[in-house]
């Protein structure tokens, strides 16, 4: 690991820096000539920037930056940020999603104004997510969470002539604002009890929190609420269908994949580092056993998401609900942590992370396909998708791959990641969680296959007019599809990395 050790410590945040600089660069490009927008230049810059950031993250990950073999996590700025395997792993998710979204937006935005702003907002949101994954203090958690959220609000409401987009943006913003207020209040309560915001110090301060265990519990609950919002889990999930349905589809893709993953990244770190289960559960007054909370949330979230998805007629909305369901699966990672879990804790957390990576590909791809459909102006319901495969077989194949992978059918990445997740849950002794998850997966096949059925089997109810063949969207969708497929044979390095880096948290 020679080259890395010669770099200064702050260089470990290079992915975030690159993303932020890309965002600024986009603003500058837009500044030079605000009246015209060179779409390919903007999209290209954004894509290259996120790819560069992703490349750096991958390089660091391979080189073992911040992992045990090179001397452990790199802590920066008074422990406010920490670069370790987990943060790099999540950075990889964010950047790959951001790259796909950037490429896809090239076509989606071709007749929109304010393109430079769009891309730079995406980049800034990605920066915020990257920082979220690195946050080691409740302060940076909150700040980076807002940095990720604020551009997202604007992105959702980006189509300012479209009532759906505005409504989505409004609802997303309102609930986001409330939840961030709740989150901040939770942080303040935790600070009141422990006197620190840095996660390990919070854990250290918990020991004498017996007196105020009620306040602490409330604080933890509120912090969990903040994460529930970011990850679109029950009880702060109800913005998700609106926001995802109304938002421009690339933004939906971005939010439902990257933003969700970011929420999980920070939730994983906060709950495992700041509120270690063995300490908080043994506090007086019954303690604060958050794993039970998350177990309940996980079950409710996945069940609710799946059942609601099954009743939808609008494909985008169905995907929105399904994304709630997937939040439930990923929550297993926190729910299945036990006091004396040892290795199993890291395994299940890692499996959850790996699932999020796979999810990043398949879900982004699915939403980008919808972006393509929106671009064609075909319609939004299942009926409108009828017979699409006759016109655009390749895109339809990609969508089929996404749908089956999301449902967890075998030949795709989603299957193996769900398997890893449920298996790890069983290994931790939470077989009932795995069982609920498996049943939900089976149920989800129903509504996912409706899309497939509509595209391939149904006759078009009206003549389909496919205008253009958007190159950027095609590239992004096919990239996502290939990624989804290749993650089946290539799952070993992913899960291995994820579980290694997750184990470092305990």
């Amino acid at each position: 690991m020679t080259p890395l050790q010669t770099l200064p410590d702050w260089a470990a945040t290079a992915p975030a820096i690159v993303l932020a600089l890309t965002g600024l660069l986009l603003l500058l490009i837009d500044t030079i000539d605000p009246d015209t927008s060179n779409n390919s230049l903007l999209a290209g810059t954004a894509t290259l920037g996120s790819l560069a950031a992703g490349g750096i993250a991958a390089w660091f990950l391979l080189a073992g930056t911040g992992m045990e073999e090179t001397g452990g996590a790199i802590s920066l700025y008074g422990d406010a940020l920490v670069v370790d395997g987990m943060s790099l792993f999540f950075t990889l998710i964010f950047t790959s999603v951001a790259a796909m979204v950037s490429v896809a937006s090239y076509d989606y935005l071709s007749d929109q104004r304010y393109q430079g702003e769009f891309y730079s907002l995406v980049m800034f949101a990605a920066t915020g997510m990257t920082l979220m994954a690195m946050s080691n203090s409740l302060a940076t958690v909150f700040v980076s969470l807002e940095l990720a959220s604020l551009p997202s609000y604007a992105l959702v409401a980006f189509l300012k002539k479209d009532r759906g987009s505005i409504e989505a943006g409004l609802k997303y913003f309102l609930i986001g604002a409330v939840s961030s207020a709740v989150f901040a209040f939770g942080i303040s309560l935790v600070f009141a009890v422990t006197g620190s915001l840095v996660l390990p110090d919070v854990a250290a301060g918990l020991s004498d929190a017996d007196q105020l265990v009620g306040v602490l519990g409330l604080g933890v609950l509120m912090i969990a609420g903040g994460f529930a919002f970011k990850t679109a889990s029950v009880p702060f999930h109800f913005w998700a269908p609106e926001a995802y349905e109304g938002a421009p589809a690339p933004v939906s893709a971005f939010l439902s994949s990257a933003s969700k993953a970011a929420g999980f990244a920070v939730a994983f770190r906060v709950f495992t580092v700041a509120f270690p289960l063995d300490i908080v559960a043994s506090l007086g007054g019954g303690g604060v056993d958050w794993s039970i909370l998350f177990a309940i949330l996980a079950v409710v979230t996945m069940t609710l998401g799946n059942f609601a998805a099954a009743t939808q007629e609008n494909v985008k909305r169905m995907l929105a609900y399904s994304s709630i369901g997937h939040a439930g699966y990923a929550l297993i990672g926190l729910a299945a942590i036990t006091v004396d879990g040892g290795v199993a804790n890291g395994d299940v957390l890692g499996a959850s992370m790996a699932h999020l990576l796979v999810y990043g590909f398949m879900n982004t791809g699915a939403f980008l396909f919808i972006a393509m459909v929106e671009k064609w102006g075909i319609g939004r319901t299942f009926e409108d998708y009828n017979g699409l495969a006759t016109k655009v077989p390749i895109a339809a194949t990609a969508m089929t791959i996404f749908m089956f992978s999301l449902a967890g059918l075998p030949p795709f990445g989603g299957f193996v990641s769900k398997y890893a997740l449920f298996y790890s849950a069983i290994e931790s002794g939470f077989w009932w969680l795995a069982a609920v998850g498996a049943v939900n997966s089976a149920l989800s096949l129903f509504y996912y296959s409706r899309v497939v059925k509509a595209m391939w089997i149904e006759e078009p109810s009206k003549p389909l007019e496919i205008g253009s063949q958007p190159v950027g969207l095609y590239v992004a969708v096919i990239f996502a599809a290939v990624g989804t497929v290749l993650l089946l044979p290539g799952f070993q390095p992913v899960i291995e990395t994820a579980q290694t880096v997750a184990a470092a948290l305990f």
Partner: protein
């Protein structure tokens, strides 16, 4: 590495075909599918294994690398063939090629997609028959469903949506049940295994490593797992009473898909029964001999009776498949060399013959656009070659000596009579033999009504002899049937070699 190469080449061929323009797709797919045929023949030629792959035998073309290390059980990429799987691999490649050839006429829309899916299915089928790790096997097992779902759903008949969904839902639920059964077995084995490789699991089970799980004793667990897996596979086979998806799927499916469905997909079920239930849990299998034999005989008789009642040629052939699969089950439960070996041989034989029958029905349908027995008669006048092959195939089905069907059924009956799993076996065998009579009944009935007699046809289509590329696959299949009938040892020797270790388990002799 030849197996990986085979699967990869087939996948690639599927991809290439998928993006080709419709005009070239059929011919390209046919040409491309010859590569796996040659590959599988090469494997057959270089085959050097002995014994059963699961029971410590020497595995041919074996690859075993760690794929996924996850918790206690590693997942391996383990493939290889033994005497049971190689014939099925060869069957798959040959039948796919012929099915592709036979689709040139009936498939006229979205051709590149159709042929792409056919090749994709072939690749997955090869995976199913060669995988020796449960996980890999399961991946391929499920993956087969997807192309089949589309083949039925897109290119099928009027009720294709219903049929496709029914097929998909039935088989998927079955897979889930089977999966649960198998996984509970794995958990029952606890620490005695470190991976999901089938040989390892089978050998651990033979070594009596099974312990209780989830409040069940070891034997109870074995029974539960056996039942779950049996139910799961039984849907795929299918046996009565889980057969209801089959006629729907067959009737609605386009001819080539029917060929693949009857010829290969059904064999997945029996193959899995042999590999999992009867190899891994022989004791349990024996203890369930009575119900299994009952089910087998019920399938034989009931399937045949249903076939007798049909007016639709395709439905007749479809129900006859249920009947034929009953023989396979009977042979498996017999637990004798000839029984199990004959069952395996029947898988191949039935694959060829049912493929032949479906193709023949398809050729007739291509010309007449109807499959109803009542709609036509005297077709032999107009289509002598097709009719001839049809008749020959039907006789093969009925068990005419010197044809593969005869050999297979002969082996099964011989094995079943010899069986010692229970006293009443000869009785069941006798009952099953009665099925042959019914088969002869409905096939002769159907042929007599459609092929012979004065020519009559209600449609406004001109009836002429089918084109060469339609008849050629029929001829090839007929030829293969005869070859296997005359010289069953081509496969039967290696099958026996692979089967015998199973029979030695638990002191069958």
């Amino acid at each position: 590495m030849i197996i990986e190469a085979l699967i990869a080449v087939t996948f690639l061929a599927a991809l290439v075909t998928f993006v080709l323009p419709d005009r070239y797709a059929g011919k390209a797919a046919f040409a491309l599918s010859l590569v796996p045929v040659l590959g599988s023949l090469l494997m057959w030629q270089q085959y050097d294994a002995s014994g059963n792959a699961l029971l410590g035998g020497n595995i041919a073309f074996e690859t075993d690398v760690v794929w996924l290390q996850l918790g206690q059980y590693d997942l391996h990429w383990m493939v290889g063939v033994d005497g049971i799987s190689l014939p099925l691999v060869v069957l798959t490649t040959i039948l796919t090629t012929l099915a592709i050839l036979s689709s040139w006429t009936p498939i006229s829309e979205r051709e590149s997609q159709f042929y792409g899916l056919m090749l994709l299915m072939e690749a997955n089928l090869l995976g199913v028959f060669t995988a020796l790790d449960f996980f890999v096997w399961f991946v391929f097992w499920e993956a087969v469903l997807v192309p089949m779902y589309f083949l039925i759903g897109v290119w099928g008949g009027p009720r294709r949506k219903y049929a496709a969904i029914k097929f998909f839902v039935y088989t998927n639920i079955a897979s889930l049940v089977m999966f649960i059964g198998f996984i509970s077995l794995v958990f029952g084995l606890g620490d005695s295994i470190s991976s999901l490789r089938l040989p390892e699991i089978a050998q651990a089970l033979q070594a009596g490593q099974l312990s209780g799980f989830a409040g069940l004793s070891a034997s109870a667990l074995a029974s539960v797992a056996f039942i779950a897996m049996f139910l799961g596979f039984a849907v795929k086979v299918p046996v009565v009473p889980f057969h209801t998806w089959l006629p729907d799927a067959h009737v609605e499916a386009p001819t080539p898909a029917s060929v693949m469905l009857a010829g290969v997909l059904l064999k997945m079920g029996t193959y899995a029964l042999l590999r999992f239930n009867f190899t891994m849990l022989p004791e349990t299998a024996r203890s369930f001999a009575l119900p299994i034999a009952l089910v087998a005989v019920a399938s034989v008789i009931y399937g045949a009776l249903l076939a007798l009642a049909q007016q639709d040629l395709k439905r007749i052939v479809a129900y006859s498949s249920v009947s034929s699969m009953g023989y396979v089950i009977l042979g498996l439960i017999a637990y004798t060399t000839y029984g199990v070996g004959g069952a395996t041989f029947q898988m191949v034989a039935h694959g060829l013959i049912s493929g032949l029958m479906f193709m023949a029905v398809g050729v007739i349908y291509n010309t007449t656009h109807t499959r109803m027995v009542t709609d036509m008669s005297g077709m032999a006048d107009k289509m002598p070659v097709t009719a001839g092959i049809f008749v020959a195939g039907a006789f093969g089905y009925m068990g005419l000596p010197l044809m593969a069907g005869f050999a297979a059924e002969f082996f099964i009956f011989k094995g079943a009579f010899e069986s010692t799993v229970m006293a009443a076996m000869p009785l069941f065998t006798g009952a099953a033999m009665f099925g042959i009579v019914i088969v002869a009944g409905y096939l002769l009935f159907a042929m007599q009504r459609t092929l012979f007699g004065p020519f009559e046809f209600d449609g406004d289509y001109e009836i002429t002899e089918a084109p060469f590329h339609d008849v050629a696959p029929l001829a090839v299949l007929l030829l293969l049937t005869i070859v296997l009938g005359v010289q069953p040892d081509i496969f039967f020797t290696m099958i026996q070699e692979a089967v015998n270790p199973i029979l030695e388990l638990g002191g069958a002799f």
